[in-house]
């Protein structure tokens, strides 16, 4: 019996071992054959790496790619490569300068009186400003099925049957494609789409205040479309409405290459809006094409598959995986700038001067939700550029005692370069000026805010929580925006002293003196109890606790007790809108490089308490002197006079201290040396066309950095093989013992 069992086990295991060994041999052969191929860990096909393809990542998928709806930076990063508004920012020039994009020259501006008669710029009778636009000739839309017509002039793909969509999963699946020349009416059509309330353009209500006749047009078409929807039982997504049936009084097509927009009064900032995607051209044919239910069912809409005139076409939009841009083969001749480079910039940025754009043939944006894989892939050379998260900051950047940043040796060895730039944004700590304790305009109330502003040490905040990636603010206007003044002239003398060529925060003694004068000696109220203030925040996570504790400590320096009222973001917004907060933190990113875009955050007319929560002035600051100056500077062109008024306004603000001015964030970008023409321009979003890739250098270094390490594989195989024999022996022994006596342990 024992013998037969042993023989049986032999019969069972020998073929098994043989099978296993042959499997190992096959795997080893496979491994060796794979080893011949380069870069096992490359996430891209080899041919893409060898071409001029830019590999980038996105962490938040774009929600909207319809230019009249989209208003997020992550969406504009894609959209601005596809669409072309009339103007753009010069890539290199500082201060930020507008220049024509699809226009042959900058818009002509004329002034009109209330009877629409031309008047001079200095006339007191100016009632309207009219902008005249002249398009460059022969600009073409991307080739697209929406433009295909048959011999009879009918639109081939505008009214397809439901069954015709069965084989269509993307725009590339359409057999025929065509293009047409850009017309002035396409720009006007975009404004008409903006006016249709059902399209939910975020700037419609703002533009109604400026563009003549837009409100009347909007009311008319919105009502008409609603009726049309009711009659057709359709939805907004699937029901086309001919917006060209009506005209906007202040938006006129003059001929195929000329159009005009009439603005109520003066509004110089309107020029900046013309560089935004809201004013990009939309072909009505594309709008009509995308209203077909069969396309909507497959998520093929104007909101997902844009059609513009820009240097790139969006050929793949899977917001959960990848977005892919291909260079537009029919793009007109546009050239890399030949001038405008600031003196302090690297002169190599002009090496491509005058060369036709775009340089990069394809852009692949991959979804990377987590920072760890993104960072590691950048180090492997699989992303051409990367930001720096707090996790990887120490690995990438050295910060000296003076606060200057440089790359670590590891980064330098890889030839990685970096850009460090102050963003046109401000992050502030606001006081609710409608609050009876921290708000108000009396001397005592002002001194309380000034004392707190001195105590809350934002130099420390920037150092601890931002790794030095911020510049302490002295006012609401950030660097790079007209109105910002650096050095001693721009000093906030309420909070800082100018000592040995740099601003030094006033001592706590000054803050305590101010607090005493405010009626709170040592942070105590008249009844001897400590002054308790409330800070509302939507930061509820564990990561936020250190920041909140830091705030508590800043207030404790004055003997003030700070109570944190943390809530979810919805409730926080509600409380701010309802002026039910005492103190809060918020931020603002520039829409355009004008001080008005920051100072309006403190204009009394925008206070939430005066606008039923709709205003942008969350601090409810309402100083008549400031308000009057704001209204004066708002319609002025930039110049010394405007600069003077802006400085006066900032001084008023510094004295009143409705905000602790916080900081201007710095962005830090790393990129490999094979990526050229990288220059920070946070207001220009259409910058991919200027970049250039040295694909050969990239491929070589990727291969060098990513050679597979094979010895661990051998060890794993050896360990498996070594463990087999004892197992087989143990099994045989066990088999033999099963038929003998069970062990006492087994019996238990």
């Amino acid at each position: 019996m024992k013998q037969s069992c042993r023989m049986q086990s032999h019969r069972i295991n020998r073929p098994a071992v043989k099978r296993f060994l042959s499997l190992v041999a096959i795997n080893a052969a496979l491994l060796i054959s794979l080893a011949v191929e380069a870069n096992w860990n490359s996430p891209y096909p080899t041919e893409k790496v060898a071409e001029e393809t830019l590999f980038s990542a996105f962490s938040t998928p774009p929600k909207h790619l319809d230019p009249v709806v989209s208003y997020s930076s992550n969406e504009w990063a894609i959209l601005s490569q596809v669409y072309e508004p009339p103007l753009q920012y010069h890539y290199l020039k500082r201060p930020y300068t507008l220049e024509p994009l699809t226009l042959s020259k900058m818009p002509e501006l004329i002034f009109l009186d209330k009877d629409f008669q031309k008047v001079t710029e200095s006339s007191p009778d100016i009632a309207y400003s009219q902008y005249l636009f002249t398009l460059k000739p022969n600009i073409k839309f991307h080739t697209h099925p929406a433009f295909v017509q048959n011999k009879e002039g009918e639109w081939t793909y505008h009214k397809m049957s439901q069954t015709a969509f069965e084989d269509i999963d993307s725009i590339a699946d359409f057999e025929l494609k065509a293009s047409r020349t850009l017309l002035a009416s396409d720009y006007v059509y975009a404004i008409k789409r903006m006016a249709l309330r059902q399209n939910h353009s975020p700037i419609l209500d703002s533009m109604m205040d400026y563009i003549e006749g837009l409100k009347q047009y909007s009311d008319k078409v919105t009502k008409g479309y609603q009726q049309h929807l009711g009659n057709s039982k359709g939805t907004v997504k699937t029901t086309f409405y001919d917006l060209n049936k009506f005209d906007i009084k202040g938006v006129e097509v003059i001929d195929s290459t000329h159009y005009s927009i009439t603005i109520k009064g003066r509004y110089p900032q309107f020029m900046y809006w013309l560089s935004m995607n809201f004013f990009s051209p939309i072909a009505w044919e594309v709008d009509a094409f995308y209203k077909q239910p069969g396309l909507v069912e497959k998520n093929l809409t104007l909101d997902t598959s844009p059609v513009g005139t820009g240097p790139y076409q969006l050929v793949e939009n899977n917001p959960n995986k990848r977005l892919r841009l291909l260079a537009n083969p029919d793009y007109r001749i546009e050239r890399y700038p030949s001038s405008g480079l600031p003196q302090e910039a690297d002169a190599s940025l002009l090496e491509d001067a005058g060369k036709p754009l775009p340089f990069i043939k394809e852009v692949i944006y991959s979804l990377e939700k987590e920072s760890v894989p993104l960072w590691n892939k950048f180090l492997q050379g699989y992303y051409d550029a990367s930001g720096v998260s707090s996790d990887s900051f120490d690995q990438a950047v050295n910060v000296s005692n003076t606060g200057s940043m440089s790359l670590t040796a590891e980064m330098t060895e890889k030839g990685i370069q970096f850009l460090n730039m102050v963003e046109p944004s401000v992050m502030y700590f606001g006081f609710n000026m409608a609050d009876p304790v921290v708000g108000g305009y009396s001397d005592k109330q002002r001194k309380l805010r000034q004392a707190i502003s001195i105590a809350v040490n934002y130099e420390e905040y920037v150092s601890i929580f931002l790794n030095g990636r911020g510049v302490v603010a002295h006012g609401p206007v950030p660097p790079g925006i007209p109105g910002y003044v650096s050095g001693k002239p721009g000093l906030n003398s309420v909070i800082f002293d100018w000592v040995e060529g740099q601003p030094i925060r006033k001592s706590l003694l000054v803050a305590k003196q101010l607090l005493t004068e405010a009626g709170y000696p040592d942070g105590r109220m008249s009844d001897g109890k400590p002054l308790t203030l409330y800070y509302d925040t939507a930061s509820t996570g564990a990561d936020s606790q250190s920041v909140l504790n830091w705030y508590r400590k800043q207030f404790a320096k004055l003997g003030i007790e700070l109570v944190i009222r943390a809530t979810d973001y919805n409730r926080f917004q509600d409380k701010v809108r309802g002026a039910k907060v005492q103190m809060f933190s918020w931020g603002w990113n520039a829409d355009y490089p004008d001080p008005e875009n920051f100072l309006f955050l403190l204009f009394g007319g925008n206070a939430t308490i005066h606008t039923d929560g709709a205003g942008i002035n969350s601090s409810n600051y309402d100083n008549p002197e400031f308000n009057a100056l704001f209204l004066e500077m708002k319609t002025m062109e930039n110049g010394p006079k405007r600069q003077g008024i802006t400085q006066k306004m900032i001084k008023i603000l510094q004295e009143d201290s409705p905000w602790i001015w916080g900081y201007y964030p710095k962005s830090l970008a790393l990129y490999h040396h094979w990526l050229h023409n990288v220059w920070p321009n946070p207001l220009a979003n259409n910058t991919v066309k200027y970049r250039r890739i040295d694909a050969e250098a990239r491929q070589k270094l990727q291969a060098e950095w990513n050679q597979p390490v094979l010895w661990p594989f051998g060890i794993v195989i050896a360990l498996i093989l070594l463990s087999i024999y004892p197992l087989i022996r143990a099994y045989r022994k066990r088999q033999h013992r099963v038929f003998s006596q069970p062990t006492p342990k087994e019996q238990d």
């Binding site: 096992w40 209500d205 959960n320 939700k369 143990a730």
Partner: protein
Amino acid sequence: MFAYIVRRLLFAFPILLGVNFITFALFFMVNTPDDMARAQLGAKQTTPELIASWKVEHGYDKPLFINADKGGIKTITETLFVQESLKLFTFDFGQSDSGRQITADIYERMWPSLAIALPTFIIGLVTSISLALLIVLFRGTPLDTATMMIAVGIMSVSGLFYIIAGQVLFSKTWHWVPISGYAEGWEGVKFLILPVLIGVFSGIGSGVRWYRSIFLEEMNKDYIRTARAKGLSERQVLFGHVLQNGMLPILTGVVVVIPTLFMGSLIMESFFGIPGLGSYTIDAINAQDFGIVKAMVFIGSVLYIIGLVLTDISYTLFDPRVKLS
């Protein structure tokens, strides 16, 4: 059995209605339609008029459960709950609040989720069962003790650690596979190796311990002694008897998860850049996109009910004593 299945499916209706009711109530307890509109429209330039028109277009201008402005049956039917719930029962998921077709999105995302979940599930199950059988074979030996200690160790470490360690070791240090990414077809295999390996490994500890306990229980039963008495080898005992009789409790936990496999894994898909359904619901909750939340909760409930029915059916396949009536 047919009558049983029909009865179970009919029971599903009130359950699903209840799930919908709870979903609607909880979601709107935390988010108001105004909040949702702001989340979709962005913080800048959001005017009351814009919010109002957005709510009308998305149907959020209607009351949630009771429409006091209407009379009769319309008090109930002209509400957000009834109108949106009925659509769910016809599997018309409509649009997300950001305007995308939910059915198309789910269809597109379910395949990558399945590409990672299915091999992880099958390989994990086979590996765990095989290892459990091996340990049962060597029960009471140092191998058994050592394996159990390792299993407890594997269970005790966070899955996130395995993901990051795996990426650092296999992708960053040894350069064997890509750190993250996804491709369709055979091109995609290299992207799946690491997540599947980590998925299998991180689940092996709990799997082996559970299956071992099941098999050990079977090992002590009389029919095993009889089998041995008949002269069957240990292999035949294990695979012919222990495994087959141990399948019943295994099925209880396994079959119910099969239909939900395509719902994906949040962390695994996020770290490995797999464009699946794993983060679809959580992203929608963060974005206050009720269109997606209600659809995914409904689908999840339906799949769970299907899983339970399949479990019952599978009992009859493995245990002839079980009859569904």
